[in-house]
């Protein structure tokens, strides 16, 4: 079942610009994670933000979480051509003793040189 929904589905920007992607989800979560997937490669974990956190930074990445609105955003500053990839948000929910990730459909980011 779909938990996270990324917006927009596709985003095209010029190198040096900032890119913002949003994620909305439906049920209460333990944490929310962002992953990147380059063409033909596996997913790479970018950042994790817990339900009691509001903002987190990692290098050029900034993630915010608003649990009242059930939404998160990922900001990539000073984008580079190498940032071209699909970005997925994944929400972690608990089902008894089991914790699992549910991924959205992703945002395809294209950074033009």
């Amino acid at each position: 079942s779909q938990q996270g929904e990324e917006d927009p589905q596709a985003l095209s920007i010029q190198e040096g610009e900032n890119a913002t992607m949003n994620c909305s989800y439906k049920t209460s979560i333990n944490n929310l994670q962002w992953y990147r997937q380059n063409s033909g490669r596996g997913l790479v974990h970018l950042i994790l933000i817990r339900s009691n956190e509001r903002e987190k930074h990692s290098g050029r990445l900034r993630v915010t979480l608003d649990t009242s609105k059930k939404s998160s955003s990922l900001l990539i500053t000073a984008s580079r051509a190498a940032d071209t990839a699909s970005y997925f948000c994944a929400t972690e929910v608990s089902g008894g003793s089991n914790y699992k990730l549910t991924f959205g459909k992703g945002t395809l980011l294209t950074v033009n040189p």
Binding site: Q33, Y35, L48, S97, Y99, K100, F103, G106
Partner: protein
């Protein structure tokens, strides 16, 4: 540290044939996951192992899919018989997640995936 290994990287079969995928997780990782990623969608969890026990297989089509993790290390995922709609990338991931929630252990490490085409 070495990453998650998967093989084969690509597989083309005809419908109704069988296929198997192999995964070797990162050494010491207790939890192993198999995901199915259809083109244009996010990964969908098929099955999750904690050591060699299954903790979640609610989205695994058990009439045709099976998976095992012998000795709590390597894992295989099998499809028998395959259908056209099984065409997808099958991703294996692992995480530490040892015996209860450890805050810093939530990251999942993914392998490169196996791209399956069913004709």
């Amino acid at each position: 540290e070495a990453g998650v290994a998967q093989s084969p990287r690509y597989k083309i079969i005809e419908k109704r044939q069988s296929v198997a995928f192999w995964c070797n997780p990162i050494s010491g990782h207790a939890t192993l996951y198999w995901y199915q990623q259809i083109l244009g969608q996010g990964p969908k969890l098929l099955i999750q192992f904690q050591n060699n026990g299954v903790v979640d297989d609610s989205q695994l089509p058990k009439d045709r899919f099976s998976a095992e993790r012998l000795k709590g290390v390597d894992s295989t995922l099998k499809i028998q018989p395959a259908k056209l709609e099984d065409s997808a990338v099958y991703l294996c991931a692992s995480s530490r997640m040892e015996g209860g929630r450890l805050g810093l252990m939530d990251e999942q490490f993914f392998g490169p995936g196996t791209r399956l085409t069913v004709l």
